[in-house]
């Protein structure tokens, strides 16, 4: 091949890559992060701008962070050493940090830092555009009305004492440090008036001691105070909470003893199942009866049911009435403490401050704004010819906004995440805007239903990705939630709603059963221009036990009578601190839908196919264009010493052939690609907070062998700076022309984090040399980015 022609082909390849890779994919793989609270767990979803195939993760189920390995799809574009951090506003409170690096080969590693130690289950999506992580939260323990410890002592943490009053900002600052409400109490000791800056009150000593531990860094002389000031000894209705009447016995109430016994049994059963909507009317009816032996228990249970249903004012009224009626009853101590806890929980900031919030508004508004400038340039030399090309020159702007209102019964959330990429290239893909999320959600915690409308992330219930539409759910029984969906799938977040494709679906979430099983079942019907695009039923099964996590996903297309996806991944904690990951992944690629018939056809819109083919032919074309993909992977990891984590992974991947039809040539099978990689991660090697990685990967397939070596570190410098030098070496041997390409990729990333403002900068190069025997070709690529992010 002549050098000029080769150069032309190389340039064409770059341009093709540029044309098919979205502007965002070149700069940001994690498009957004969103979290939503569900019954018993928090669902955190990472939205990807290109397809990432899950390989493994470590640690298995528990920790303050999880590292997830993916294999990047071809639509993810060329690797840069690291990525701009995604906006985390949508998962604030759950996710502390997310870092994505591409250390070598096709490997993509995502390190998610949680805000606290979590127990988690990972579930990849069917189309590789999402990763869902379920943070397991203990459900409210099984209810008994005698669960509180005896004793009416109440606690606070005395953070500091002073003979002069504390300024208001000292209270707010202390509240943020301790993460609890603060207040000032006064005392006179030996004729000296002392002002005490306190955190609390706390109902349990354990909670106070936890706060004491949190505060010791800033307040070394902090101590736990026990019922020694007015705040700790008071009960009653705090201002700002509506007072309602308690349930009083009715003169004409006349249940027989048998009816009382039966109703009480029904109420207790409903209460045990946390079905408060059933328990409350029964208990109300019971407490309207004249005095009977179990009336005190019924009233306490009614108060507790109302409290747990979010009916705070009613619960307080019942508790107060209980104390008046049964001041020396068995439950008086418990009720006293519950009333105190309720009073503190609902008290407006009187002379103190709330932990972290600073005000009592039910609204919380937070978000972020970022701008990053990126420039990529490449220089190619082959023989006597050379060329320079600027492949990216863009300013990426992203904004994320969350507004939440948490009411006594109703919650409202609205979320917007959007961006704009200003393309400064004269021959580039052009400026692009995206809207990843734009929805409003309304939830009734008492009735157990929610509805969400707008652009939102799918991923469950057979929904393959982002969609414009509505989903709603209802907690039918304590362990059964039913959901419904309808809307329009979103192929690209850079496009508006497309009403030509629409779907409707239902799903049911069952569990948790036997403290281990969560099951989801779904059915979805998707139409495209009046033709069935996808009609599927499926299930998602999650099994979770300490040390064992298994997730299985099966999706069956009933229209085509074929299995679309079957995915099974398991993570097992073995003796001697070994962790084993297994991953079996069979799927259609791309996911089976009638729309696949457009591949290779000279049409821009689906309905144009009707002028060329009959419906039966279109469906056959769709089947012909859909290949079978199989991937198996296994990996082990183990910590060594206190600072190192080592992992070894092996995976095979096969993409099947597709036949010739409709004028589209056949594609042969890719053969089996095998990848083996090993990695060592070192923590705190140079001080506190640094992470160092060493990795080696070997990939071999029918057309190429790639050996990659990566080394990198992230070093904190002082409180604010982080610096991350990184080096990657790739040796690629292509069988087709027997060429060998050697690429060196040094990069440096620096970041300065302030309280709200973060500056980040990254620069790097890819210096490649391709040897084809008599001819050699050198290609150099430089990239640079500079930006800031403001979080509020």
């Amino acid at each position: 091949m002549r050098p000029g022609l080769r150069l032309l082909l190389a340039a064409s390849a770059v341009l093709c890559n540029l044309a098919t890779t979205p502007l965002w994919a070149q700069g940001r793989i994690i498009e957004d992060v969103v979290a939503s609270e569900q019954r018993g767990y928090v669902s955190v979803t990472l939205l990807f701008s290109c397809s990432l195939r899950y390989l493994s993760h470590t640690p298995a189920t528990d920790g303050e962070a999880v590292q997830v390995r993916f294999s990047a799809g071809p639509d993810c574009g060329r690797a840069t050493a690291s990525e701009p951090r995604p906006m985390l506003a949508g998962a604030a409170g759950y996710v502390r940090s997310i870092d994505l690096v591409r250390p070598f080969g096709s490997d993509v590693q995502v390190l998610i830092g949680w805000s606290r130690a979590e127990t988690f289950v990972l579930t990849p999506s069917m189309n590789g555009r999402q990763l869902r992580v379920r943070l397991l939260r203990a459900e409210t323990p099984q209810v008994t009305v005698k669960e509180l410890p005896q004793g009416v002592s109440t606690y606070a943490v005395n953070l500091a004492s002073s003979t002069t009053p504390f300024p208001p900002d000292a209270l707010a600052a202390a509240a943020k440090i301790v993460g609890a409400r603060t207040y000032v109490s006064e005392t006179v000791v030996d004729d000296q008036r002392w002002y005490r800056l306190r955190a609390g009150p706390f109902v349990t000593e354990m909670a106070a001691k936890q706060a004491l531990t949190n505060s010791r860094g800033e307040f070394p002389k902090a101590w736990v105070a026990i019922s020694d000031d007015d705040t700790l000894n008071e009960i009653g209705t705090p201002s700002g909470v509506a007072t309602v009447r308690s349930t009083a016995p009715q003169v004409n109430a006349s249940m027989t003893p048998e009816e009382i016994k039966k109703a009480l049994a029904q109420a207790k059963d409903a209460f045990r199942r946390k079905n408060y909507a059933t328990a409350i009317p029964l208990l109300t009816q019971l407490t309207q009866q004249p005095e009977f032996p179990q009336r005190a228990d019924a009233q306490e249970m009614l108060a507790l049911a109302r409290e747990r249903s979010g009916q705070v004012a009613h619960a307080k009224a019942e508790y107060e009435d209980y104390l008046q009626r049964y001041p020396t009853g068995d439950g008086a101590t418990r009720v006293h403490k519950r009333l105190q806890a309720l009073a503190w929980a609902t008290r407006p900031g009187r002379d103190g401050s709330n932990g972290g919030d600073g005000d009592e508004s039910p609204w919380r508004v937070y978000g972020g704004f970022s701008q990053i400038y990126r420039q990529d340039q490449s220089h190619t030399e082959s023989g006597l010819a050379s060329s320079d090309l600027t492949t990216q020159n863009a300013l990426l702007t992203d904004v994320s906004l969350v507004a939440r209102r948490h009411g006594e019964r109703f919650d409202f959330t609205t979320r917007a995440s959007a961006g704009y990429g200003y393309d400064m290239l004269t021959d580039g893909p052009g400026s692009q805007s995206r809207v990843s999320l734009l929805f409003a959600e309304f939830a009734d915690r008492v009735a157990g239903w929610y509805a969400r409308l707008g652009r939102q992330a799918g991923g469950s219930g057979g929904l393959m990705g982002t969609f414009d539409g509505m989903q709603a759910g209802y907690q039918l029984w304590p362990r059964l939630r039913v959901n419904g969906f309808f809307g329009f799938p979103v192929d690209s977040t850079r496009e508006g709603p497309d009403s030509e494709r629409k779907f409707v679906g239902v799903s049911a979430d069952v569990g948790t059963l036997a403290n281990a099983w969560d099951l989801s079942f779904y059915a979805v019907d998707q139409q495209y221009s009046g033709v069935t695009d996808r009609q599927a039923v499926g299930t998602e099964v999650r099994y979770f036990r300490p040390g064992i996590t298994v997730v299985g996903i099966a999706d069956f297309d009933v229209h085509y009578s074929t299995l679309n996806t079957m995915l099974l991944l398991g993570t097992f904690t073995l003796p001697a601190r070994w962790t084993l990951n297994l991953n079996l992944d069979h799927r259609k690629s791309p996911g089976l839908s009638t729309r696949n018939a457009m591949i290779g056809q000279p049409v821009r819109r689906f309905d144009e196919l009707f002028g060329l083919y009959s419906p039966q032919q279109i469906e056959q074309l769709a089947l012909d264009r859909t290949a079978e993909s199989k991937m198996y992977s296994a990996g082990v990891s183990r910590p060594f010493g206190e600072r190192w984590q080592w992992s070894l992974d092996a995976s095979t991947m096969t993409l099947g052939s597709t036949p010739e039809s409709g004028g589209v040539p056949a594609t042969p099978s890719s053969g089996t690609d095998i990848a083996v990689s090993t990695q060592a991660l070192g923590y705190g090697l140079f001080g506190r907070g640094d992470v160092t990685s060493l990795g080696l990967q070997y990939q071999t397939g029918e057309s190429a062998q790639v050996l990659s070596l990566g080394v990198g570190t992230q070093l904190p410098i002082g409180e604010r700076w982080r610096v991350g030098p990184r080096l990657r070496l790739d040796q690629r041997k292509l069988d087709i022309d027997r060429s060998t390409t050697l690429t060196y990729s040094p990069a440096l990333r620096a970041e300065m984090r302030g309280k709200h403002l973060t500056f980040e900068m990254e620069g790097g190069a890819e210096i490649g040399s391709r040897n084809m025997g008599t001819i050699s070709e050198d290609a150099t690529r430089y990239y640079f980015s500079l930006g800031y992010r403001y979080d509020f």
């Binding site: 000791v189 000296q192 005490r196 004491l212 002389k221």
Partner: protein, 162 residues
Amino acid sequence: MAGCASEQQAGPREYLDERTAATITVAGEAMVFACNRPELGVHARDYVTLTAVDVNTSGRHATHLVGYAWSTLDKRTVQESDSRYEIIADDRTLPLQPMPDGFRSIGVNEPPIPVPSRSALPLTAPITRDQLQFLRDTPGAYVVRTRDGVLERFDLWSAPQR
């Protein structure tokens, strides 16, 4: 007084109380608080000597401040039962309970520190590790005696080395 203190071992001392079968760990040197009594003599003082002990009774640990109120001249003031003693550190107060019959009720028969005088009044108070730490970290801690409505302040006279 200082001479007596210097004869004690600097570090914690442990012994088995043969009467109560408890293992007593005594925290090093004692703290001595003093209150000048100029009406009695130029160098006349009343004292409160305190130390911390851990009482291990069959694995059940309890920490106490134990010590004595004593005087070189006026035995009456320390023997009057209506005197109340409190140790004060910043805004924290810890009442010291007079134990005229000794420390037996807290599992200590053999005195953990030498009895300073025959007329010395044993004092004790249950204390937590946090309170001990607070006491150690508060330089201006002192003892107050309330007698007939009159407060008398005992300032630190000698303290163990940190």
